[in-house]
């Protein structure tokens, strides 16, 4: 029982990442009709916003410590971050330590600007092109973004730790009456899950309860009619692309402490997120979220030693297996609308 609870928890945080990326993908597909293979790269860019802010906060002045030497035997250059010089070691140190949460504020304008630039500079020329063309151009864009990041940050993962307050684990087992230490879960993963729930709730509320959201939903249903009513739907869709980029970016920012960011991390999530979108139903926001969590949990269970020993290799194919079954039995996905990507 404790193993099952633990794998459900694991699935929830993994599903959070899938759901957030799939949500952005669905927003773009639902509004612009574009299959965006660069979405994983936007997730990666978000994580590198956290890396960048951490690097900026660590920019340091150098002083020579003659009592110590570096690896070449020269006097050691001691670095003192500027923020510690300006605000004192306590406040400056806290700013560096809390760089990941602070990076949320840092990432929003950057990701929005990146989103607008991509949509206006590239994607808009492909609205009326075949999905295959869209996939090719956005996949190419993803590779370009990856290589840019690798050029500046290198290929190795860059550790970007969570604040000390969130290191360590929460003992769920104690809460549920199990022995201590049986069901423990890292605090930051709980934060990630809560953050994902907040973002998902925020996007749904935005679309459901604002005039802007209402127009976007109308545009998703019938773009032509909304345009005939004199509403500039294109501008709103550009904004939606920026919002989708922000959602992916913020998912990346908060993911940075879970696994050290590297230039390739977007690709690792991209294919799985597309499967999530297809399983959830192309164009269905609730479907994307539900499928994200469902597949995250299934993947966790499939990785259990007992399951793998019964069905070797199941951990590597479970998501694709589910996708095949869903597509065979319900081609439009779990919550997909009739007519979307059909025929």
């Amino acid at each position: 029982m404790d193993a099952i609870i633990l794998q459900v928890l694991n699935g929830l945080d993994k599903g959070s990442a899938y759901a957030l990326i799939a949500l952005g993908l669905t927003l773009i597909f639902g509004t612009l009709g574009v299959v965006n293979f660069a979405h994983g790269a936007l997730f990666m860019l978000g994580a590198f916003c956290a890396v960048t802010l951490n690097g900026i906060l660590r920019l340091s002045s150098e002083s020579i410590d003659p009592s110590r030497t570096d690896f070449l035997g020269n006097p050691l250059k001691v670095k003192t971050p500027y923020v510690e010089s300006w605000f004192g070691p306590e406040i400056g140190g806290a700013m560096i330590e809390w760089s990941v949460p602070l990076a949320i504020l840092f990432a929003i304008p950057i990701m929005a600007a990146v989103g607008v630039a991509i949509e206006r500079g590239l994607i808009k020329f492909f609205y009326k092109r075949a999905h295959a063309d869209q996939i090719l151009v956005t996949f190419g864009l993803a590779i370009v973004l990856q290589e840019i990041i690798k050029y500046f940050y290198g290929a190795n993962p860059i550790p970007t730790p969570a604040p000390d307050a969130f290191t360590g684990s929460f003992d769920f087992g104690m809460l549920l009456g199990f022995d201590p230490g049986v069901i423990i879960y890292p605090y930051w993963r709980l934060v990630y899950f809560a953050f994902a729930a907040l973002i998902i709730g925020g996007v749904f509320a935005f679309l459901q309860y604002t005039t802007f959201g209402m127009v976007v939903r109308a545009g998703m249903a019938d773009r032509e009619t909304v345009g005939l009513l004199g509403i500039n739907i294109d501008r709103r869709f550009t904004i939606m692309f920026a919002i989708a980029a922000c959602v992916a970016g913020l998912a990346g920012v908060m993911y940075a402490p879970i696994n050290s960011p590297n230039y390739h991390m977007g690709m690792d999530f991209l294919v799985l997120s597309f499967v999530v979108v297809v399983v959830g139903g192309m164009g269905s926001l609730p479907g994307a979220v539900a499928a994200g969590f469902l597949l995250g949990i299934l993947e966790s269970f499939a990785s259990m030693a007992q399951v793998v020993s019964l069905l070797p290799g199941i951990n590597q194919i479970i998501i694709y297996l589910v996708a095949i079954i869903i597509l065979l039995t319900r081609p439009r996905g779990l919550l997909g609308r009739k007519g979307v990507m059909e025929g």
Binding site: D2, A3, L6, Q7, N10, G11, D13, K14, R68, D70, F71, L72, L76, K150, G154, A155, N156, P157, I158, P159, P161, T167, G168, S169, G181, V182, I183, I184, Y185, P186, W188, R189, I258, N259, S260, N262, H264, M265, D268, E299, S300, S303, M304, A305, V308, N315, Q316
Partner: protein
């Protein structure tokens, strides 16, 4: 028109002359190129096949820096680096056999097929007489086989799987880097001293060749000293989040987690294990411990503070204080501004060893080079007295057991050496079961 009758004698003469004439180019070519890519001008071309793209690109970049430094030193530039400390004095800093060393590079992408294609291109188009480099055992085994077929020497870069000099060994291939068996043999006594003999180990193993041989090596050496292996789980190579593999460790009664992972796998699995509080656990009345059999400073950097206090093994470390290591670190550090990685070290040493073997053999012929390297004993290249064993073309030398440093003084100061395991302790017979299968075969000069 007068018709001359053709006599039997003149027919034989004509046919003989024509035969000689037709055969001559082949004889001349064979004499001109007694082996693949025999250097005929004033230069010799070496092929550096390293990952320039993909997840190990940083390690590949460090390998390339080391090769460029080696070429500089071989041609008489710079401070000479390890040429001054190398026990063999055959190299004079005037190239190899008086020919200036030039090089071409290929990108392995850490993919076997891409690595073979780039090595093939360097051999066939650029005339490389030797191929070296790489950051993966899969790549090393693939390129080694290609070099054997093509008739050029392969000096392996970073490859740790037993198979490279085990079941996949080839006469034209040589490995300076240590292997999985040696990691297990070096680590076991240190782990015994630190954690005792009554331990239960849980292995997470990358699901590919290197992972299998490392798990086998560490299991056999730790089980031999009394540890019990409670579970060994294969993890997909492409796995990024290891939480679902870490969670079952909590349910088991294991008190040690062995991460048979390298590169990004190691960074992520170690980070996840620490996040799940494994290092804070007490199981069976003992502190829970994590072991990483193969450490790399470049990878340790990716895992950040999570490496603190964790044991592993490494082929070489820049903090070694022997004459050769100091000369190399000074040379590399002054040129590039940071200390070399173990990948850089092994690649630099391999380039020097090849050049030295050619000088001693007096020929670039791969068979002469093989003969010069087989059974070659040397010192002054950073690992103490070393033997290139003739039976399997594996270098035998001391192995370093390291630990993640608790209080690093710089971004490079991540690992501390806890023991230099003497070569005798990591030496095994050529027919050891972990290296069974495969034949070295005979050298192939190509052409």
């Amino acid at each position: 028109m007068i018709k001359r009758p053709i006599s039997r004698r003149s027919l034989i003469k004509t046919a003989g002359a024509a035969g000689v004439g037709l055969a001559a180019p082949h004889v001349l070519i064979r004499n001109a190129h007694a082996f693949t890519n025999e250097p005929t001008g004033s230069t010799v071309t070496l092929g550096f096949n390293v990952p320039q793209t993909g997840p190990y690109a940083d390690e590949g970049a460090d390998e390339l820096r080391a090769y460029e430094l080696a070429v500089e030193h071989l041609n008489g530039g710079g401070d000479g680096g390890m040429l001054g400390t190398f026990s063999s004095k055959a190299l004079k800093g005037n190239g190899i056999l008086g020919k200036k060393v030039e090089y071409v590079t290929g990108d392995t992408q850490t993919k076997s097929d891409a690595a073979r294609a780039s090595a093939k291109s360097m051999i066939e188009k650029d005339g490389a007489v030797m191929i070296t480099g790489g950051s993966s055992s899969g790549v090393a085994v693939a390129v080694q086989a290609l070099c054997q077929e093509a008739g050029v020497i392969f000096m392996a870069g970073l490859t740790h799987s037993n198979d490279t000099t085990g079941k996949d060994k080839k006469a034209n291939g040589f490995r300076h880097f240590f292997n999985s068996y040696m990691s297990g043999a070096a680590l076991a006594p240190v782990l015994k001293n630190a954690y005792g003999t009554d331990r239960k180990a849980y292995h997470l193993t990358a699901d590919y060749n290197w992972g299998y041989t490392t798990e086998e090596a560490v299991r056999s050496s730790t089980e031999a000293m009394g540890w019990e292996t409670v579970e060994a789980v294969k993890t997909p190579l492409a796995q990024t989040d290891f939480s679902s593999y870490i969670a079952p460790v909590l349910q088991s009664d294991a008190d040690v987690l062995v991460l048979n992972h390298y590169g990004g796998n190691m960074v992520n699995s170690l980070t996840n294990a620490v996040q799940f509080g494994l290092r804070d656990r007490v199981v069976n009345g003992k502190n829970f411990e994590i072991v990483v059999p193969l450490y790399s400073r470049l990878m340790a950097k990716g895992a950040g503070a999570n490496v603190k206090g964790i044991f592993g093994s490494t082929n070489w470390h820049w903090s070694l204080e022997d004459e050769g290591s100091v000369a190399f670190v000074q040379s590399f550090g002054k040129k590039y501004g940071f200390p070399p990685s173990q990948a850089a070290h092994t690649c630099y040493v391999q380039a020097l060893l090849y050049a030295d073997a050619v000088e001693r053999a007096g020929s670039f012929n791969p068979c002469a080079v093989v003969e010069a390297l087989e059974g070659f004993e040397f010192d002054g290249l950073g690992n103490g007295p070393t033997l290139y064993r003739a039976d399997d073309h594996q270098c035998f030398k001391d192995v370093l057991v390291v630990k993640g440093k608790e209080n690093p003084t710089s971004e490079f100061d991540l690992l501390e050496i806890v023991e230099v395991t003497p070569v005798a302790q990591v030496t095994y017979p050529p027919d050891h079961p972990q290296f069974a299968g495969g034949q070295l075969g005979s050298c192939n000069p190509g052409t």
